[in-house]
Symmetry: C2
Subunit: 495 residues, 2 copies
Amino acid sequence: MYQDIDLVEIDGLMQQSWKAFMQYRNMPIAMRAAFMKKIAEELEHCGDALIQTAMQETNLPEARLRNERGRTIFQLNNYADACLRGEWMDIRIDTAIAEKKTPKPDIRKMQIPIGPVVVFGSSNFPFAYSTAGGDTACALAAGCSVIVKAHPAHAATSQMVADAINKAVTALQMPEGIFIHVHGAASAIGEALVKHPLTKAVGFTGSFVGGKQLFDWGNQRKEPIPVFAEMGSVNPVFLLSEKLKTDAVSIAKNYAASITLGVGQFCTNPGILVGINDNNLDIFCSVLKDEIEKIPSAKMLHNGIAKNFSANKTKALMQQHVETIAASTVHEQNFDESLSANAIIATTTADVFLQNPQLHQEVFGPYSLVVKCKTSLEMLQVAEALEGQLTCTIIGTDEDIAASKMLIEIISLKCGRLVLNGVPTGVEVCLAMQHGGPFPSTTDSRFTSVGADGIKRFARPIAFQNWPNHLLPDELKDENHLQIWRTINDIPGKH
Amino acid sequence: MYQDIDLVEIDGLMQQSWKAFMQYRNMPIAMRAAFMKKIAEELEHCGDALIQTAMQETNLPEARLRNERGRTIFQLNNYADACLRGEWMDIRIDTAIAEKKTPKPDIRKMQIPIGPVVVFGSSNFPFAYSTAGGDTACALAAGCSVIVKAHPAHAATSQMVADAINKAVTALQMPEGIFIHVHGAASAIGEALVKHPLTKAVGFTGSFVGGKQLFDWGNQRKEPIPVFAEMGSVNPVFLLSEKLKTDAVSIAKNYAASITLGVGQFCTNPGILVGINDNNLDIFCSVLKDEIEKIPSAKMLHNGIAKNFSANKTKALMQQHVETIAASTVHEQNFDESLSANAIIATTTADVFLQNPQLHQEVFGPYSLVVKCKTSLEMLQVAEALEGQLTCTIIGTDEDIAASKMLIEIISLKCGRLVLNGVPTGVEVCLAMQHGGPFPSTTDSRFTSVGADGIKRFARPIAFQNWPNHLLPDELKDENHLQIWRTINDIPGKH
């Protein structure tokens, strides 16, 4: 339906993006925020047509898509507010001290935009982590221009969102080229975008293979650029004994819902559940089985994802000493096995898990592996064997926690978010959110892709030394008429 | 004098560093700060012996080395204070909202140490950017263990500083292995340290070739790690016309001093001076010539650097249409041409400069190239042609600035620090300092290696979701008894 952009057009588009960036970067933050809020408004104005198109392209249900659009609008407004508050700018002012032996000059530092940002949206969030999603909102808040490569799996949805953004561009007379939208299924297009000399940063949400490729391209450039790729993880959950004694049933019910939420297509889906092999874990597994068996199959985002789920699930289940303990066989109407997925829960021992790294890998979809440990020492070994994660979860009482100091030590080294007595799915959009963990869950654990601190991925500090007040940017002037929080001579405050 | 460490020993040392990290990361920030302050004290206690050793190894004069030790002590104390204030921790607390449609959990985020940091010190700062220098201080403040590879050019100095640090380790009963010091001239040792799986970040100050190699090794790992390499730059200075009309003489005098400060061996040495070819630039050049000719030769850090200076200077001067306009021929006593350097100023036209990228390269030492432009448009083209820089400097009146908006736009995209009517040498240690610019001046323009914000290179955020107050780290507890600045529900304050 949408033709891939011709590679020869990319240079012209990047020049246009650069030109727009040069104007946009100097616009007051109030105009950036207004632009973002206008985009949010236009997304709302897309009305049902956008939801219908997304439903057709992604198989996601209407309610979910309405929620997700709501989240996307919230993100744009929330990051616009953060842009105005300015804590992401890390403003530091050190005033001159003339009487020092070597006189200290006046130095003032703030964040400025890094340059044009290329955004690769995700397949599983057609709104919130796609065209007008988190990366785009962060880049616009930072003062960057944005080039989005539409995800081919929801190209029409992406086009409609791009059209909405362009309405906002026109309405507020933003520089032409501030937002550029291209279609491209071929990987050469992604490569050309990442490697173009005017591209200064990349945002990505998706698979490990895709993200790692972009990261490598970014680093292989003559001028390497930061590539923030969020590549998902297995989000291990540690079920501690005391808690299971009393709450195995309710926890199992919560987890059946979390594992199958959105047909398991969340980067924070709990893919590994680790427990001590005792009666309480048996009860947990048995309730989980009952719950999972009741959940009907559901359509995945597209055939490719369904095919991968089927293949990865089969591969996991074919490993020695891995047993299926629960499988939904309830089929939705018009069941199509090349597109729909039934949830499945497998189990194995810690021994087997430790010896087979294949079992540590993400199976994207409604799948989870219960790893049964003989002892809490084995549980530590399982934790130790895991790679970097977006989240780790502890299910435990205070007593469990007190007895598990080492376990918590180990997993806190492995993840960006540590959940207690909850599920990892459901990533709250707020300043305190950390959605970014050690490799391979992301390419740089020092940043987040959810929450307004994600703006920092696309900004860099510049210090002005010895500039008189009237020549400084508004953010750094004595008056602080933007009312931003700033640290002056080591003292933070709205001054 | 010092043998290279055997490659087979590295794994054992990294294991030791990891073990120490696991203890140190949980120590209260007050203990980190006390440790850093104790190191500062021990450096002071090294007394004259340390200065004498450094003088022998680096040829730097006594006064400079005493100053530099003072700076190193100041850094340790300053970053220790910053560690306690905690603004680098970017603490964000979002409290629960139970009545939301989907209840919002309590989420609290802080920075935690990234893991063992390998530090490669610089040749030109035997104290301040070496063994107990900025990278080590930042890493310790973040809560990381540190492994320093001594610079072979000042190995004995490095060893004495390491001994001082180890005294502090013993005095405060810090975990054994928190600081590890190895000698190694062979590049295989650097490679093994960067590629060891337990290494989680790298700090480097030095040449482009060295820094880029470490960066590539860091990215080629199975688990890529952040490598912050500060690789120097030419620090262009733009001499604007109105200012030169009145101040050419004093500016030329300041620049003669800046170019030859520390025998030109600073990463912020002004290597390119760009002006409009008129009478005032002639006056500037003529005074610069007189000043430079009065400056005696001086010993460089070591033979390798002197040899490189001689070779790079010769290469620059051999380029077509490059003329020498000033050369010092005053020799210090016991002049040794394989070790000492005479300052030299060359000149060329913007035309020639634009056509010859060789002239854009850093000549590390007391050398500067005056680029004469016919018009301010040519000056823009010169600015446009430059690579990423640590600093750019404008010498101009308000009138000049008003007439040079485009020039300031261009250079602000290229540098981390923008100096007005000053010299780029002299990097103040303060929170507002930005010592890090676009590639190739550093490998990541989003970070700094001078000032307490440099701590952030070696820390990453973790979010605690739904943890009760009594189980949270002190930094995140409701009470805030550490009295840290924190952002609670989007409002920053000491609360």
